[in-house]
Amino acid sequence: MTNLIKHIIMILKQDKLKIKLSSFLAYLGLVTVLLTVSCVNTKKKTYENTADIPVNREMVAELTAPPHVPTPVGKRLAKKLIVNMEILEKEGEMTDGVKYVYWTFGGSVPGSFIRTRVGDEVEFTLSNHPDNKLPHNIDLHAVTGPGGGATSSFVAPGHEKTFSFKTLNPGLYVYHCATAPVGMHIANGMYGLILVEPEGGLPPVDKEYYIMQGDFYTKGENGEPGLQAFDMNKAVDEDADYVVFNGSVNALTGDNAITAKVGETVRLFVGNGGPNLTSSFHVIGEIFDNVFVEGGDMINENVQTTSIPAGGAAIVEFRVDVPGTFILVDHAIFRAFNKGALGMLKVEGEDNKTIYSGVVQEGIYNPEGGGVQTMPDDGKAKQTVATTEKTLAEKMESGKQIYMQTCFACHQAEGQGIPNAFPPLAKSDYLNANVDRAIEIVLKGKTGEITVNGEKYNSVMTRQSISNDEIADVLTYVYNSWDNNKTNVTKAMVDRVKSGH
């Protein structure tokens, strides 16, 4: 680099060119200034008042159906944004066998997602399909102006109206129809979200999704089949039959679930169209790293459940660290399980056992068993019971019974024990090495570390309050099962051990 400069200077110094170095530099400077002035975007200054942001050219807005969202605005400048929204009254399926006539923006409930940037001048055309029966309009919460646009967009079927507004505030906003009776229009599904991204756009994430909760009121009860009509009385009483995400019970479940991969950051634009109920939005198994509270600038961190008021919205972000199916719910829990406020996020990828291991062990937890459990002691209690000697078969049978009542809970059906918890009795070197020790353990219990079949165990075995006879039977059973050394433990042996100490 320096060589190049030296080279240039050398050339300049040559008399042949007859250019003065200083003049040349002056001209160079002038040209550079001119070029800089013409090429560089002078619009990079920040504006104190968002109303002053100028717009640069125009673009037709990309409108998407839920749960997808349009491409982020990124670093684009404010533009004149053309939005064409159609209203369609159409029949849809609320859940299996239950049909409902939805009034929609853009053919979906919630309506199409509108993505803008602060400072955009939105030219909004609302068209009412000629087959519709009713007039409609739109109130966008992102609009600063009378009615949020409702006064300027009242439109009869077969007609359209256009109005324009400038997005002054960044945030996530609800839009809905505001034609009388407003509650009915909203209850039939006329709501959606409009995002106004700040300058520079929201920080990029891997996945973004669009979810909106709504409550529905039908003449029939929840689940009653057929075409259901809207019930105004229930709506006034706020007695919802269905509370769902994205317009129907199965909109976000099964094949319609939203997806992500382990390690990705997920951002959910969550709105609540109402008309009446507030949402307690929670994703089972996840914690929201960031919550843009009420869709505004304030960010709360490490949130489990966030409140989204009717006619409001929130942006939640979290990283998915482990695979599985994460259930989205309204944590007013009967709504989730009895009215349909349930969605699914399916995450695929590698397990991370440290974060979540899944099932580590499974077992029967049977705290009592046949005998009364007591902690090990110095063997003060003595029991003397006189019995006659049984046959091996009898002992086995009796022993098995006793085993199943008393020993099974910890040592398991095949004497396999539970790894890291209770030592095995099957093919147990510890057991086979010393019968008397085994008898003593049954009589007195055992604490402390032992090694069985190469594994260390450090647990507590309680003293078993069973008779010597029973001890003999059960130990005979154990020794004669599972590849053990087939000792036939007699009552006498037990007595001896018992009295021996």
């Binding site: 250019i19 003049s23 001209y27 002038l30 040209v31 001119l34 013409s38 125009e58």
Partner: protein, 238 residues
């Protein structure tokens, strides 16, 4: 060295001239004029059907040519002169709307017993009239149509005109038939409802028609900024 200076000067000149705002031409009185759909240079119109010099979009023809001379028997499809009902003026004469042809019309619907909105509407009309240069007033007719033809007889209208200092040539008051008034209101998209024998509820709209009777501009509301209305009138009386 000389060349460099020359280049720099040329660059500077190009930059300056590119940003210069061209003065807008007057609307041509001839057949076809074209405008840029993006209005790159404001309301400038062009004589040739080509591309906009700024944004390069195709020009489109300007609709609703505003021509001063209207042949007597040619009433356009959109003209209110298509309404054939008869009206009585405050002077007692019987007219049809087409008798108002040839002047730019500024029309509003009121009724004389109105206490709330109408006085303000009347004031709004007066404000608009004040902003028109005196020499242009000959081309203008301010028409106030009564919503209450039963009570607003020509005599009553005349008295009202006098009370409100609107007795000049440029002010006309009309009384029609009930059906004629309803029809007229529907053309203007004015809504009204009688709520008691002397009281009406109505929307407040001031409408501007060109000399051919075609609706050119409407201003809705009371005390609304009348700049656009005045602008549209001035354009018509040029």
């Amino acid at each position: 060295m000389k060349y460099l200076k020359f280049i720099v000067v040329l660059l500077v000149l190009t930059v300056i001239t590119a940003c210069k705002d061209n003065a807008s031409h007057k609307v041509s009185e001839e057949e076809s004029v074209y405008k840029c759909p993006m209005q790159c240079e404001g309301n400038k119109t062009y004589a040739k059907l080509e591309a906009c010099p700024v944004c390069k979009m195709d020009l489109v023809m300007v609709e609703n040519q505003r021509t001063k001379s209207v042949a007597d028997d040619v009433i356009s499809d959109e003209s209110i002169f298509n309404l054939t009902t008869t009206w009585h003026t405050e002077e007692g004469s019987t007219v049809q709307l087409k008798d108002l042809k040839g002047k730019t019309l500024v029309m509003v619907m009121i009724y004389t017993t109105c206490k709330a909105a109408c006085p303000r509407l009347v004031a709004d009309m007066r404000n608009i009239e004040a902003k028109i240069p005196k020499d242009k007033l000959n081309d203008l007719q301010f028409v106030l149509v009564s919503i209450d033809p039963k009570n607003d007889t020509p005599a009553r209208l005349k008295a009202f005109a006098k009370e409100n200092f609107m007795d000049g040539e440029q002010w006309t008051f009309l009384q029609g038939t009930e059906s004629g008034v309803r029809e007229f209101a529907n053309v203007l998209a004015v809504k009204y409802k009688q709520i008691s024998p002397l009281d009406f509820s109505h929307s407040n709209i001031i409408s501007v028609f060109n000399s051919g009777g075609e609706l050119v501009h409407q201003q809705e509301g009371l005390g609304v900024d009348n700049k656009e209305t005045v602008d549209s009138i001035l354009k018509l009386v040029q």
